[in-house]
């Protein structure tokens, strides 16, 4: 029996029940939300199950939704089943005041740098990561630049005339 989005959804709801919510299929890719405490269990199940076999982590990053009080930071995982050629996306939401998410480095080595990048940009604390320090920005930086409240430009510049750039 070929693996389709419906069979994946069915197997996951059998295993995890009502904890997985918000099932959608934007542009053909099955998407769902899991509670933050369950992310490793879901990843492990998708990896180990003989039919599901999602053994390739394509991408891991976060999105900041400042309006979702209590669940501002969404960590998004993209997985790929190379044998049956199916992709999957799932999200876990974390509160911005205590953004703890379990690290996937034990399962996927590729998650190492990706989680460091997510920490660097958004401040998501990956519990269990071997070396969670800044990766792309300077080490002395004390804020998380990709969050929505911070602008792109360097605020310490003195030689640029803001009037001319529409920011006066």
């Amino acid at each position: 029996m070929a693996l389709t989005n419906e069979t994946i959804q069915q197997k996951l709801t059998e295993k995890f029940g009502e904890q997985l919510t918000d099932w959608q299929t934007p542009y053909g890719m099955l998407t769902f939300t899991a509670p933050a405490a369950l992310n490793l269990k879901v990843l492990q199940y998708l990896y180990d199950d003989a039919e599901l076999r999602f053994q390739f982590l394509t991408d891991l990053q976060a999105v900041h939704y400042p309006d979702n009080k209590g669940a501002e930071l969404a960590v998004v995982y993209h997985l790929h089943n190379l044998v049956d050629n199916i992709r999957l996306r799932f999200k876990v939401f974390a509160d911005i005041s205590k953004p703890d998410v379990y690290s996937a480095t034990a399962l996927y080595q590729s998650a190492n740098f990706m989680e460091r990048e997510t920490y660097d940009f958004f401040g998501v604390n990956f519990v269990g990561h071997p070396n969670l320090i800044r990766i792309l920005n300077v080490d002395e930086m004390d804020y998380f630049p990709m969050r929505k409240e911070f602008p792109v430009e360097d605020q310490t510049r003195i030689d640029k005339d803001d009037e001319m750039f529409g920011r006066g």
Binding site: Y27, L57, N112, F121, L136, N137
Partner: protein, 409 residues
């Protein structure tokens, strides 16, 4: 968790008294791009390596949150700058998926020609630089000549050599003129001889084989776990190619094979890239033939018919009201992107280049993330060079085709 190097124990039989710490610093002639590796050496053998990246972090993702979709194309140019058109096309394909624009066949075939030309130009650089790093400079000079011809073809279409910003959402900015096709024919005719000459210099060269066989190997399981994609993964034995798995831009009409290696060492990577260049040349010939089959008015089609996202023709802008409004809205960046999220990927020269675009219905993306293949497979570098010699580490780094712009984004 800093400085765990005190616990490094020298292996049995080592004649050194303690390990040597060497900084293969961000500026180094052999690191192509700015990477820092602090290696612990036992004589000439590498025991441990720690990588630092971020020396060219330009905050693409943050900048992209401020720009309408077509203004993000110049940013994608600067990701893997050896093959800018591939990144541009990947971005346009993502936007078209989100906006729901269908592309005519002729545009697809023209896109295939440009994408495969840029794949050839990227593999040219990688393979010739592996030669330069092992001491053989002439191969680089032979191949760069043909890179100039590829640059001339880009120039005919978009005006620029390296950071091309080629194509638009919906097609191309202008039809390929006769000179572009003449240059393409010249390339198709002359390039095989040059590639053969390059192969004669390197592929069965005793010194090159001794230097590259067995350096930096990786098994298929480790490669998959590290998230490898592209020629590096194919050299390890896994035949994953996005062009075949999720065909985009009419690749399903093309007939080509995917070269696969065995051990994943530098020699396999060199051979896989070499064979991919031959396959790309064959794809270009097929696509060119298909383009020539369009006659008459069909041969004038170079963009999709979607005035909401592709600039209407200037003569219509001056005479028709709707065209004027569309022109104004597109130029002033006032077209709203439909809300939703899409992940779309292409087979870039280094692997699967993915774009995760989240839109909330505004004029600019809410969140744009680039899934950069270099960033992900660079994590395996310390493991690849462990146990080898320092000069092997240099060859491994250049054979992995690490491009700093893509790594740090």
């Amino acid at each position: 968790m800093t400085n765990t190097n005190d616990h490094i124990i020298l292996p049995e039989g080592s004649i050194e008294k303690q390990t040597n710490t060497l900084n293969l610093g961000p500026t180094h002639p052999a690191t192509h791009g700015v990477f820092q590796n602090i290696v612990e050496l036992d004589g000439e053998r590498i025991l441990k390596a720690t990588s630092t990246v971020g020396y060219i972090h330009r905050a693409f993702e943050k900048i992209a949150e401020r720009r309408p979709l077509y203004q993000i194309t110049p940013l994608t140019d600067r990701l893997n700058y050896c093959s800018s058109p591939l990144n541009n096309m990947g971005w346009h394909i993502t936007c078209e998926k989100l906006l729901g624009v269908t592309i005519p066949k002729r545009v697809d075939y023209l896109r295939i020609i440009i994408m495969e030309l840029s794949r050839i130009s990227d593999h040219l650089i990688c393979n010739s630089i592996v030669g330069v790093d092992s001491g053989a400079y002439s191969g680089f000079l032979y191949l760069m000549q043909y890179r100039e011809l590829i640059y001339e073809i880009y120039e005919e279409i978009c005006g620029s050599r390296l950071t091309t910003n080629i194509g638009r959402i919906g097609g191309f900015e202008r039809n390929f003129n006769a000179t572009a096709f003449t240059k393409l024919e010249k390339f198709i005719k002359e390039y095989p001889a040059v590639l053969k000459e390059f192969e004669n210099l390197f592929t069965r060269n005793r010194i090159f084989m001794d230097r590259t066989i067995g350096t930096g190997p990786i098994s298929a399981e480790r490669a998959l776990n590290y998230g490898f994609t592209g020629p590096n993964l194919r050299a390890a034995g896994v035949d994953y190619d996005v062009r075949v798995h999720t065909p985009y831009s009419s690749y399903e009409d093309m007939d080509f094979i995917i070269p696969v290696g065995k051990t994943g060492d530098c020699y396999d990577r060199f051979l896989v890239r070499n064979e991919e260049m031959w396959q790309s040349l064959s794809i270009i010939e097929q696509a060119y033939q298909k383009v020539q089959e369009f006659k008459g008015t069909e041969a004038e089609v170079f963009h999709a018919d979607s005035p909401a996202y592709y600039l209407p023709e200037k003569k219509d802008v001056y005479t028709k009201m709707e065209a004027l409004i569309y022109h104004f809205k597109i130029i002033m960046g006032e077209t709203n992107i439909p809300a939703g999220e899409v992940y779309s990927s292409i087979e870039a020269a280094n692997g699967e280049l993915g774009f995760y675009l989240v839109s909330d219905g505004g004029r600019t993306p809410y969140r744009l993330h680039f899934r950069r293949p270099c960033f992900i497979y660079y994590q395996a570098f310390p493991e690849l060079i462990k146990g080898g010699m320092l000069s092997d580490a240099i060859i491994t780094m250049s054979s992995l085709n690490l491009i700093a712009g893509e790594l740090d984004a």
